[in-house]
């Protein structure tokens, strides 16, 4: 699936990097603890989170995550969106909750990866 497919499936608002909606993604992870993302994530391309600070973007950068989905209708500050733009990380916001959002993406073929 592509980042654009995720945006459609979760009825997302695209906050940044709309020009990268064609990028293919195969794996995802969901977490509010960046420590856990750093400890357990391997090659996941998408991060679903309810945490809104700039370290979500930095953690994603370190782990080569190319798309962040903020759940529960949350939207980060402009500074966080700008930082993501500098790193070419797409930012989506969905009104779905974490469990629901992960379920919809799983049902449509996105996996947890190794």
């Amino acid at each position: 699936m592509t980042i654009g497919d995720i945006a459609k499936l979760l009825d997302c608002e695209v906050l940044c990097c709309a020009d990268r909606l064609d990028s293919e993604v195969h794996t995802a992870c969901g977490s509010d603890m960046m420590s856990d993302v750093l400890a357990f994530v391997k090659d996941q391309a998408v991060l679903l989170t309810g945490l809104l600070n700039s370290q979500v973007v930095r953690t994603s950068e370190m782990m080569d995550i190319i798309c962040i989905v903020f759940v529960r209708g949350k939207k980060p500050d402009e500074s966080v969106v700008k930082l993501a733009g500098e790193k070419n990380i797409s930012i989506l916001s969905t009104s779905s909750r974490m469990f629901e959002a992960c379920g919809i993406l799983y049902e449509n073929g996105l996996r947890g990866g190794s």
């Binding site: 420590s35 400890a39 953690t59 950068e61 782990m63």
Partner: protein, 141 residues
């Protein structure tokens, strides 16, 4: 290949900027064409170390030396130090308060992660003086 040395100051008073040094290091390694696996290992190690310097000390410095065989990292701070290093190295051990956990950190995985993702790891700390972490990632050919 000649030896490249980089130095970064990590400000201790700005959580939002934590990770800037790690980002710069990662980009440098990418530009140099270092293998993605090695870059990932260095990225995790420096970022966890940088976060520790910001949340547990009052900032510090990162020195990076890149040669043909390895990336060496030295992280120094003049924070409160670690009273029991063996305990601090355990997975899940943390002294982070709830406010840090609310920011997404403080799972007690940082130091174990730094050790896990590097080929050499050495931590020296003195209470009241500060902490020094030396790490090395070998570049396989």
């Amino acid at each position: 290949m000649s030896v490249l040395q980089l130095h970064y100051d990590v400000p201790g008073d700005d959580f939002t900027r934590a990770g800037e040094a790690s980002s710069a290091i990662k980009n440098k390694l990418k530009q140099m064409g270092i293998a993605p696996d090695a870059i990932r290992n260095v990225a995790i190690a420096t970022y966890e170390g940088e976060i520790n310097m910001v949340i547990h000390a009052n900032g510090g410095t990162i020195d990076v030396t890149i040669d043909a065989d390895s990336v060496s990292l030295v992280l120094r701070d003049t924070g409160a130090g670690i009273p029991d290093v063996e305990l601090a190295m355990r997975e899940g051990y943390t002294t982070a308060k709830e406010e840090i956990r609310a920011l997404g950190f403080g799972a007690g995985m940082g130091l174990p992660n730094m050790k896990k993702y590097t080929d050499e790891f050495e931590l020296k700390s003195e209470v009241g003086k500060g902490t020094e972490v030396r790490m090395k990632v070998f570049l396989k050919k």
